[in-house]
Amino acid sequence: MATQIVMDHTGDTRHYFDANNAKALMQAEERFKELTLVGFTAAVRTASGEPTVIRTFDPTAEETLFFPRLVGG
């Protein structure tokens, strides 16, 4: 199961989907577009564990993390 983790006030909300299911994959891509469109940053981890920011949906990503836009505090 692939996961999209969206940070929110509850800690995070997780969306699990079967990457082999075309419909589920399409929904995941739609979620990716919606979140990044409103300013969320999407990040995945490389094989060595380092974070990388992605700008387009990666259908092979096991785990994608979304965090809101950053602003000066």
Binding site: M7, T10, L70
Partner: protein
């Protein structure tokens, strides 16, 4: 009389514990697995930290990251604002940086967003960040007066 009262009370307490065993077990599991936002945030953070950062965070409640553009070192303290210090080679704070998500998030999430930002887009993060003088630096300045 007192012994009898104590015996009755002990018996009732034992029965209460037995009746509530399910509840007590849930409480123990909740304490262990914690599902409140703060705990979940820290759990997610720990999952994304490198082994070195995780060990440092567990020991000190802060961890160091290297800026991807400048190679500078930053120390992210447990917290949700004014919690980042640019540090020198000896770990002393040089300047504070403050940037946070534009919506309320728990501390673990904030720290994770800050870590990823500094490790993948340091200049972009510092571009929106506000500078501040860390407390330790203020104290050092005062001590040298």
């Amino acid at each position: 009389m007192f012994e009898q009262l104590l015996r009755v009370a002990t018996d009732r307490f034992r029965r209460l514990l037995t009746d509530r065993e399910g509840g007590a077990q849930s409480l123990r599991e909740w304490l262990r697995n914690g599902d409140d936002p703060e705990t979940r945030g820290v759990r997610l953070l720990r999952e994304w930290l490198s082994p070195e950062q995780r060990a440092q965070y567990d020991a000190h409640r802060y961890f160091d990251v290297t800026g991807c553009d400048s190679g500078k070192r930053y120390r992210i303290h447990h917290g949700a604002s004014m919690n980042i210090q640019e540090i020198d080679g000896t770990g002393r704070p040089r300047v504070g940086w403050c940037f946070v998500p534009n919506t309320y998030l728990v501390a673990g999430d904030v720290m994770l967003a800050q870590k990823i930002a500094l490790e993948t887009d340091e200049l972009g993060a510092l571009d929106v960040a506000k500078k501040f003088v860390p407390k330790e630096t203020q104290l050092n300045m005062f001590m040298h007066l």
